[in-house]
């Protein structure tokens, strides 16, 4: 199972957004797309989801051009929980969209709640949850869709530092279990190094891949905190990012 982005180019109006971005994600890999704010990271997801068409280049899955959109489960930057749906119905939203009746969708989702720390909260409304719980609900909503690829768009950007670390640990544990292929867009270097198998570093707009970093460190990593090699890698990435900005 391989997802390939090949030399993607995009201009929106007068803004040159993507200048030939290529990357690859294989089965069960965790890939981070790291870059300065406004580099066009989220735009890559819009291309994958089909809400934008590239001017050039192509997206292929197992060698075939990507048709339809049932490959990706997407988690937007803000949790985008619907205030008028109970927590369990928010998590089951994707299943309902696929045509499952509400009751059946709920039954399918209910056993997963404890793993997301939402046990006993299924009848709550989103506004009654803490920031971290909302994010976990949004993640649960993404995972239950059972799609081959996860697209996470800065999922923890809006959380306070402590909650963010807790959520990263928790995400690492979940992904160890499910081994689902994941693309993460982030501007948090530490997050990328801690979670990824490979990091694609993007330049400021127009975005191209400046460098690719492999992160071979054994997992789980979040429990122990970054080791010396990870810290060295963080420093290297930060330096490359800052040099890119000076150009």
């Amino acid at each position: 199972m391989t997802l390939r982005l090949d030399d993607l180019r995009l201009t929106r109006g007068v803004t040159h957004v993507l200048d030939g971005v290529s990357l690859e994600a294989r089965a069960a890999e965790f890939i981070s797309i790291l870059g300065p704010s406004g580099a066009g990271k989220s735009t890559l997801f819009e291309l994958l989801l089909g809400s934008l068409e590239p001017d050039g280049g192509q997206i292929s899955f197992n060698g075939q051009p990507v048709q339809g959109r049932d490959l990706f489960a997407f988690m937007p930057q803000r949790d985008a929980l619907m205030p008028w749906r109970r927590v369990i119905d928010n998590i089951a939203l994707g299943l309902e969209v696929q045509g499952l009746p509400r009751r059946a969708a709920r039954e399918r989702v209910r056993p997963l709640l404890p793993r997301f720390g939402l046990d006993g909260f299924e009848r709550h409304w989103p506004h009654q949850l803490s920031g971290g719980m909302r994010q976990r609900a949004a993640l649960a909503r993404t995972l239950v869709q059972d799609r081959p690829l996860l697209l996470l768009d800065e999922p923890f950007g809006a959380l306070d530092a402590l909650t963010r670390t807790r959520m990263q640990r928790w995400l690492e544990a979940r992904l160890q279990e499910t081994r689902v292929t994941t693309l993460l867009v982030t501007h948090d270097v530490r997050e990328a190094v801690a979670l990824s198998d490979r990091i694609y570093l993007l330049s400021p707009r127009p975005a191209r891949v400046v460098e690719v970093f492999d992160v071979p460190q054994p997992r789980p990593r979040m429990e122990t905190g970054p080791g010396e090699e990870a810290l060295a890698l963080e420093t290297r990435i930060l330096r490359t990012l800052l040099e890119g900005e000076r150009e």
Partner: protein, 259 residues
Amino acid sequence: MDIADVSRAAARGLKRAAPALVSVILILLGWEVYVDLSGISATALPAPSRVAEQGWQARAVLAENALATLTATLSGFAVSLACAFVLSVAIDFVPLLRRALFPVFVISQTLPLVAIAPLVVLWFGFGLLPKILLVALVTFFPMLVALVDGYEATDRDITRLLRSMGAGRGQVFWRARLPSALPFFFAGLRISITYAVVAAIFAEYAGAARGLGIFILNAKNNFRPDLVLAAVFVSSALTLALFALAVLAQYMSQPWRRA
């Protein structure tokens, strides 16, 4: 939600309404005292006590006419709501319709009711139809705007999320745009329902067999300001009751806002 919840909410509402009640009572008291001390004739300005007394004596006639007004208001408003909803959905799916129709509706809102009401009665007679049309004319556009703006207020992230799940235009509307419009819809409802009563009374004033409007006209022609004012109080009570119903409907239909 059980009975205890409702009664607790009612008690809270009463507590919040207390200052308003006090000021209304003070105004009535001041009015009573003024009429008493100035010796002004009851055919010019009747005291509230006289209005209440005469109103009570005429209660059967008042109730009958109030019922006619209520019927006109609710039928007109129901027609208006149904049309506004159907058209708002059409506009949401075919944006061109908005540009074609909105200017016409805006113009419809600029027509003075004083001029239109007698014409509509002239064309459609003294029955229910002209009242329905006038109430609809007054309330349709505000409701339409509330709904269309409400759809537009949908969170873009939610739309993108639904799209990524494979939802088509219809599902996006049903699952996101319609619920997003609810607060806007109820804001429009609360305002429009009060205009609806006024519009119905105006339509009756222009010509009707029954209704508070025609009752007021007759009482005025018979030099009975006490009965005019009694009818005014009844119509106010009617409006307030409908307003309260709209608030209750909002409360019931948005359970996530009271949790």
